[in-house]
Subunit: 248 residues, 2 copies
DNA sequence: CGCGTCCTTGAACCTTTTCAATTCAGGTGG
DNA sequence: CCACCTGAATTGAAAAGGTTCAAGGACGCG
């Protein structure tokens, strides 16, 4: 029995939620970043709707026709690709202000699936209209390309993590990355509530859930962290950083 | 003593080489794919020059200012990122018709470096001009976004490889991917001359060079391959494919 | 309050790495 | 043209790091 409820009757677009980038707390992190007010308004008009996505429901799945880019407004997502043999690999976690679905542009069908890890909301940007608007608004086109490029850079740093780091380094890098992104959004810089299971962390890091758990435990024993189930407090961020940098 | 000659006096752009996408053998694989003749000509005029890149020389390195996108015209490249501790991880191999440098769009500086693995030529596309042209030519804009998206999809499949496969599967997947791309360019579908060392393959696959070598040897013993130094002949492509698919 | 899911921990096993010793290939200079 | 020399590749044996299998415990949700 899969933990995710199926593609399911997607909650219908709720027209009640009018999109208002101009007053959105995320406008400094999100797609409109750097756009002047007038252009933000144009963008707003295009972003059709905000859609709520309940915890453990699928926003899109691999193979779905690609129709829109999504921006996380609130909540937390994971994206995962599945190999031919059925195993799945988590390819990323997305939080508020981050973009989802760019993998679908290439072939017109999504290459990976996205699932909400907590009750979330996304802004839906129909791709056809976005494409049109990127012709008209230079800055938007540039910003969109920048975000695509950021995704590439990110993926490459994950490749580095998976290809050249040992378990302890991977976990440390994962935590540091998470904290950094949370801090950029104004959250506590020392305490996280993980939205994902050990299994999902492991899948993302190329480790088993047991190894993730053991690594957390060892880091706790070493006084680096305080781990209580999903809640992690970083006690010695400096040492955590050194773990990643050191080659040992 | 680095094997690569340094950023070095980059061979000066050779204006003698006039770029001619319209007659290029790669036009079905490259950036102009799908553009009508008139637009291909516009593109041609923009692509400043072709630049020769000698074996083991650096096309760009991490940290270099991002100024242009490169398209491999002939030859073979690797891209590699280096961790804080100095170790480097190969993030990809590029052959004729493939694009290089998209990682630089995000921050304005290249996030990884590119080195020619054999004497090569690239077409240099100044990014500023490309950006302008993507405003004017709808199809070019779409094509460019598609190629960026393809890069994301590719990176994700590498993440899958690194995160969820054992050595034998990784090597099999690597060979299959290589053969597929070569075949798409009209090369033999059963025989490859590898342009990279075992060490570079290993770095890309998250394995040591010894493991790569041993895996080749075992596959040879099993009658899957015939390996003679850099030359690999695939004897049983079917079985190779099954290796990747099977979960065992 | 109970059940299911998630997490932790232990022990044995296995894959891959590490270290070390040859062997091989290809390019250079005599 | 051959001998040499260097970087690359192969192979072996020991060690390490991670996985697998298994059992027990904690937490949260209904």
């Amino acid at each position: 029995m899969p933990r995710t409820t199926n593609p399911a009757p997607l909650p219908p677009p709720q027209e009640g939620f009018k999109v208002a980038c101009s007053t959105c707390a995320l406008r400094q992190v999100c797609l409109p970043t750097g756009l002047p007010a007038a252009e933000v308004e144009q963008l707003e008009r295009m972003v059709a709707v905000r859609r709520p996505v309940a915890r453990n429901t699928v926003l899109f799945k691999a193979g779905d026709a690609f129709e829109a880019i999504y921006l996380v407004r609130t909540g937390f997502f994971k994206t995962a690709a599945s190999a031919e043999d059925g195993r799945e690999q988590v390819t990323g976690f997305q939080m508020a202000g981050e973009m989802l679905g760019m993998d679908g542009i290439f072939s017109g069908a999504h290459a990976c699936g996205a699932v909400a890890l907590e009750d979330s909301q996304v802004c839906v940007v129909p791709y056809g209209r976005l494409e049109d608007l990127t012709r008209e608004i230079d800055r938007l086109r540039r910003q969109f390309l920048r975000l695509m490029s950021r995704e590439i850079v990110r993926d490459q740093s994950v490749m580095m993590l998976l290809g050249a780091m040992r378990a302890e380094q991977r976990v440390a890098a994962f935590l540091i990355n998470l904290m950094r992104r949370l801090r950029a959004r104004g959250f506590s810089s020392s305490s996280v509530v993980l939205r994902m299971t050990r299994d999902e962390i492991g899948s993302f890091l190329g480790l088993t859930l047991e190894t993730v758990s053991r690594t957390f435990s060892r880091m706790q024993d070493d006084g680096l962290l305080e781990v209580r189930a999903r809640e992690v407090r970083v006690l010695k961020p400096r040492l955590l950083l050194q773990l990643v940098r050191r080659s040992s």
